[in-house]
Symmetry: none
């Protein structure tokens, strides 16, 4: 089955945003054995959207459009598809109810154009939007499968994963389904990991090994086609065990969860709590932790001691340790240690984690951009400090530092 | 002049990398007044690259290809273009010398296929590669301009900026460049904003009005063609003033900066400092602020009082206000007020901002998901609390709450 992805949106053509949707969809389609042959981007222009659909119809079995489902005059994708397949647009009742309900709840009058988001094609199937208002569309016409998804990734991803992907898989019929295992790594880089596993990667056959990297985390996905879950497990198990025997110490989960979620689970299982003292990560570490639903069971909170004054006043770091000639400074092993121990004692938590470093763009205290110290203190053990040298821009250094702090804590809890 | 960008590479279709080149080129072309009408991605397959070039020729005056200029068998772009325009491939002497020199310097024998990187079309102009080996190509054939650039961004960007962009501009002759003004809004939704400006949007002619939305922020871009900056200003000014007369109170910047940056600039100008008390945003507000380089000049830090215990112990909120029957609870006007005032006094900052609410997925204290209170306290004024009802998933509610808090502070500083 050949697929084409059409992203609709003038903001993409003007270079205001990057088409990350195309990447997400291409990966997701690969998972179910659908190959993407073309990706197209077209502006919010009815004639050109129509032309793109016509070209795609000649060369693809599945056409997935993203964008252009919103309430404004610029949102044309449904109108154009309706015209292309000669179907009327009709109101999807449950979506309309949801829109009206939302406006009622907000206590503001509904602008008329919002009703457009509840439109679907006469003979199409609606795809529920669990994180937004515009309903999606799935439709087969003259042997071509069409899927319309919203443009914002927060709405597009869940709609695709929960509703569109299974719908496409169902149209595919008898091809054996794909099964996969995701192994997630921290504390090891992508190239190092690939180096350790290169012979396995080069020898892959019908069981594939695909490495993925996101900032601060690396994943490996093992995939195979099989008649059943049991058969798939029998095929994937030996490979997973070989990988574990080589680099098992870096695997923090055998499922696709973030490192912060793994850390929170471990804390919750052990009935322990965590508090953080953040300097150079500036709140990002706490933000990552609190993105996980239920994090309040184990994460107490923390102090963002961005200035030396707050390090001193809220976390009792002596000023003579922070400033003055010969002082270790804010970015130092001593300060990371003190911050971790103090956040523990100030909050009464079981674990205290600190991060202090130079996020850039300029150096600080004469120390280079990317130099970071992570401290881990606990009620029942020694405080440890890890010195790291991160690379990248300000936001990358913040993210890698936050992930490194999580990894240091995870290692401590597993030791 | 209409442009089309064709990115060549199976790794893009498999979702292994994101097509950031398309964004970079689109922006660069907009700078010189060339509109991109389509972006296409095609795999390393001669037949399909040829087909993409044929389609692009019918709808574009400039076709820019990225990728497929390397040494391997998969690198086909030059071969396909040569076939399309019926020209031979010839060796570009200086590029060949450079390749040979590089291998000599490394002291390794040159693999034959590397010579492919020095090929250009018989009647084309070479585009120098200052950061890599593969030479680029610029060519006009039957009225269509073709540009071939390497795929790796570190080679593509300098080649485009230094050589391709001026070459394209030279082909354009007398077309006037584009000028634009970006207006950024907070505190108003995209559909409400469009509603207020719908007559202007519908009446747009050679001066265009384009709304964009990102979480918690909305932007409008006014664009026109003109012979000079002065002439452009004369054309854009009346429109900008009309927009300001209607919705000026929501405009926080007339340039493309984030709300947190606008807030930090205002604080720095006024010589004032900010500290935050975050409950439901869990560190995100601080994270946004500290993503701005130089934020430490105005942002002191804060306390993430995720649990009631920390609200009580670190920020002196009375336990009887937080818990017990009849208590206002953590998510309440009273608690938001207290947190804002306490973070002010605990940190000695000029402004104190608090956020407390229900991020979900479940309700809390019997209060609905999305109910959020934002408090703003200052040394020299009354503490104000704004009640908000946010919608979306956990991360969206966090982000919108953080942006709302920034907006409330921005309003206070401007009042």
């Amino acid at each position: 089955m050949r697929a084409e992805i059409i992203a609709v949106g003038t903001e993409l053509l003007m270079g205001q945003i990057v088409n990350t949707n195309a990447q997400y969809l291409s990966r997701g389609l690969a998972d179910i054995g659908v190959g993407v042959y073309f990706q197209t981007v077209v502006g919010d222009n009815a004639q050109r959207i129509k032309e793109s659909l016509r070209i795609a119809k000649d060369r693809a079995d599945v056409i997935i459009c993203t964008g252009g489902l919103g309430p404004t005059q610029d949102d044309l994708t449904k109108d154009v598809l309706a015209e292309t397949v000669c179907q009327r647009l009709v109101m999807h009742g449950p979506s309309m109810d949801k829109i009206e309900h939302m406006f009622q709840k907000r206590g503001v009058p509904m602008v008329e154009s919002n009703a457009r988001q509840a439109l679907m094609l006469e003979h199409s199937e609606p795809l529920a939007n669990d994180t937004g208002l515009a309903v999606g569309v799935a439709l087969t016409h003259e042997g071509t499968h069409y899927i319309l998804l919203p443009g914002p990734p927060k709405e597009m991803k869940p709609m695709f994963d929960r509703y569109a992907k299974p719908w496409i898989a169902a149209q595919m019929g008898s091809v054996q389904p794909l099964y996969s295992v995701m192994l997630k790594f921290a504390g090891i880089g992508e190239s190092q990991l690939e180096h350790e596993l290169i012979d396995l990667i080069e020898a892959q056959s019908d069981t594939t090994i695909a490495p993925y990297a996101k900032e601060g985390e690396v994943a490996i996905r093992l995939t195979t086609r099989a008649a059943s879950m049991l058969e798939a497990q029998a095929k994937l198990k030996p490979l997973e065990e070989e990988i574990r025997s080589r680099v098992g110490q870096y695997i923090y989960a055998a499922e696709d969860i973030a490192l912060e979620e793994a850390v929170l689970r471990l804390l919750t299982e052990q009935g322990r709590t965590l508090a953080v003292a953040e300097s150079c990560t500036g709140g990002l570490l706490s933000d990552l932790l609190t993105n996980v639903p239920g994090s309040s069971a184990a994460f107490a909170g923390g102090i963002i001691c961005y200035t030396n004054r707050l390090k001193h006043e809220l976390l009792n770091v002596p000023m003579e340790q922070l400033e003055g000639s010969g002082a270790p400074g804010a970015v130092s092993e001593e300060t990371a240690k003190r911050l971790a121990e103090q956040i523990l004692s100030v909050t009464g938590s079981d674990y205290g984690v600190s991060v202090t470093g130079v996020a850039g763009p300029g150096e600080s205290e004469g120390k280079p951009v990317g130099l970071v110290y992570v401290g881990v203190a606990s009620r029942d053990g020694e405080t440890t400090v890890k010195q790291l040298q991160q690379f990248g821009n300000r936001e990358t250094i913040k993210l890698r530092s936050a992930k490194s702090a999580l990894y240091q804590l995870w290692k401590r809890m597993n030791s």
